[in-house]
Symmetry: C2
Subunit: 107 residues, 2 copies
DNA sequence: TCGCTTCTTGGCTATACTACCAAATAGCCA
DNA sequence: TGGCTATTTGGTAGTATAGCCAAGAAGCGA
């Protein structure tokens, strides 16, 4: 793997890593329905506000969400709705795993 | 977020986490072209064989690859080629980020 | 200006991940 | 069987991540 290839895979991994957490996936799922402010997300995630804020900053840093400050509140929205297909792919893998396990159990 | 939802997002995160590493993305990329044995992958990744083996076991555990032992060698292949669309989505985000940075720089 | 609210940042601890080396396992062939 | 090769597993050290609390920053309204 040469240096350029390495960089390419590092870049991909950085984005995927940003999605690799249940709370962040939940946030993405909620934002798929429209923009939300941090306190709304906090309720859903059920963690400390500071924790949610850090999750959001990770997603923002990866370019997955963008923020928009209006008055006291900061609204977040998906920057790239294509992340949703993404989740679809994952669900396929989960389905496939479930079938696989079922097939093994049936023996 | 209720318990059932939590489990669903945990399951998704587990799969995504398995992909969230440059070496593992590289492996997926290579396997997209066909099955490979561990030592072939090791060459590409450029890490210790034991390290590659552990990466493979993470991918296998997530249901992304499957293995097939033939003689002394163990061949790995993608179990769910849909992970490739997945990578496509990531590339979209990277593109969007690049354009965004360019737009900011142009100001 | 002062206090209140919303959000972010810094500090800390516990947990998880990664990579290497060394040792174990498994299959082949002499 | 004994040695050789391919791979996995165990151990360990360094690094990164996640969560909470406390403190800071910014906007609003009295």
């Amino acid at each position: 793997m040469d240096a350029k290839t390495q960089l390419q895979f590092d870049a991909r991994a950085k984005i995927i890593k940003a999605l690799a957490h249940p709370s962040r996936l939940f946030i993405v799922d909620v934002l798929a329905k429209g923009e939300r402010c941090v306190c709304e997300l906090r309720e859903g995630v059920g963690a400390d506000m500071s924790t949610v804020s850090k999750h959001l900053s990770i997603l923002k840093n990866a370019g997955i969400v963008e923020d928009d400050k209006r008055g006291l509140q900061v609204f977040y929205r998906l920057r790239c709705p294509c992340v949703l297909n993404f989740i679809g792919c994952i669900e396929n893998v989960i389905q496939a795993n479930a079938q696989h396990h079922k097939a093994l159990a049936a023996r």
